[in-house]
Symmetry: none
Amino acid sequence: DILSHGQYETVYNFLSLVIASQLFTAVFLVIALPRILPRYRQAITVAIVVCGIAAYHYFRIFDSFKAAFVTDAVGGTGDYSQAVGAGFNEGYRYVDWLLTVPLLLVELVAVLALARSVQSALLRRLVPAAALMIILGYPGEISGDNGLRGLFGLLSTIPFAYILFVLFVQLSKSLDQQPTGVRRILSQLRFLLLLSWGVYPIAYLLPLLNISGADAWVFKQVGYSVADILAKAVYAVIIYQVARIKSFDDD
Amino acid sequence: DILSHGQYETVYNFLSLVIASQLFTAVFLVIALPRILPRYRQAITVAIVVCGIAAYHYFRIFDSFKAAFVTDAVGGTGDYSQAVGAGFNEGYRYVDWLLTVPLLLVELVAVLALARSVQSALLRRLVPAAALMIILGYPGEISGDNGLRGLFGLLSTIPFAYILFVLFVQLSKSLDQQPTGVRRILSQLRFLLLLSWGVYPIAYLLPLLNISGADAWVFKQVGYSVADILAKAVYAVIIYQVARIKSFDDD
Ligand SMILES: CC1=C(/C=C/C(C)=C/C=C/C(C)=C/C=O)C(C)(C)CCC1
Ligand SMILES: CC1=C(/C=C/C(C)=C/C=C/C(C)=C/C=O)C(C)(C)CCC1
């Protein structure tokens, strides 16, 4: 694909926005950690790690983008075409998700501070399902074939549906035992999760719907960037608020 | 060897996955350290250092890989062949192991928090054996000759067998004195160790079995990556759990 100067700068700026958001959410949480009761620090520590991992991968994605699209216009104001010998590596995203998606669920369960047995029962379901979802999506993403893409997308949707089932049906009982001040926030958090996680399967579908070309590609990168900020940084800040309120209540 | 685009990206993504896993396991442990009783902090500190050393070496391995394989295809989607004037340096791995393998054993012994004399008796056996194992393997790895490779491989297996003997026979007595809550985890940890450490001698054997070519090479890199994540990052998280449970129990 060929990107116009404006498209190139749009992607560039959004990728950089993600780096700044993730990195400084992590920094914020590191500094704020001592203000949380020890019982909720596990959740915040995991949030720091998630945002850190995301920042690392976005540094790589950013470099890969800069190497993959080049122009010979003076001042860089012309069209950007694909470079010789360097490609934009989308696979990074899956590597990132493989680590961070299970951890996002750990983060959520940890902040609830449930009884140890309830907690490990939830995690034994959620973490393998999350890993399976990502692993099954990967072969479809890298294959050029639409049939394989559809097949693996479908397979990957099974653990995805299971995760949503556990979060929205099985977790509801535990939410009722949370202090009233955080119950509403936690329930909204699940909808933020649904909204942001939903972006990834939709982006995966685009080639099946024959949506391609530079505009669609730029739109996809911007969509991923916004979803990643919502699913990790904004999510982490809300988890932090829950931990703060619960720390007050318990004190 | 010539790598296809898919093979190149697979190795690329796995090497990056190792960097992210080791680096953020180390970050996680640094943040979580204060939640561990001082008596178990030695083990976690060593775990941080091990994961940090591994991350450092994988940054180097990653750069070495990127310099060693190049393509002139637009968008980087063609075959990758070996570069002029830059090689992939496998020797890095031995440098990493020379430092980290003895430390992994220190980590395990430290978390047991045995009597000082028992502890130093164990380490006086395990640490020199681990160093010897790596040092003896190196000349075989870098020699092109299969006879030398076999010979040094055999010599290196002697200290390897000795380490397994100490861990599975001599350590068993000490495990019986551990609190019940961690005894099972510790015993599983030894099997994780056996499973992940076993990958390295198997990879060493491949040239002796005349297994070579691009597929075998990619498979070996992926195998090393997964084994390194299990042997260091996953291992560290399990050691952390042991330390957490023991900290609770002692409190
Ligand atoms: C269902 C489904 C998928 C789901 C992906 C999800 C849900 C990813 C979530 C990523 C997050 C939350 C990243 C963190 O910021 C895939 C793998 C695209 C393949 C197609 C089917
Ligand atoms: C027995 C044997 C070997 C053993 C290597 C081992 C056991 C390496 C362990 C490395 C670890 C644990 C790395 C950390 O992640 C060599 C040297 C390949 C040479 C052939 C014989």
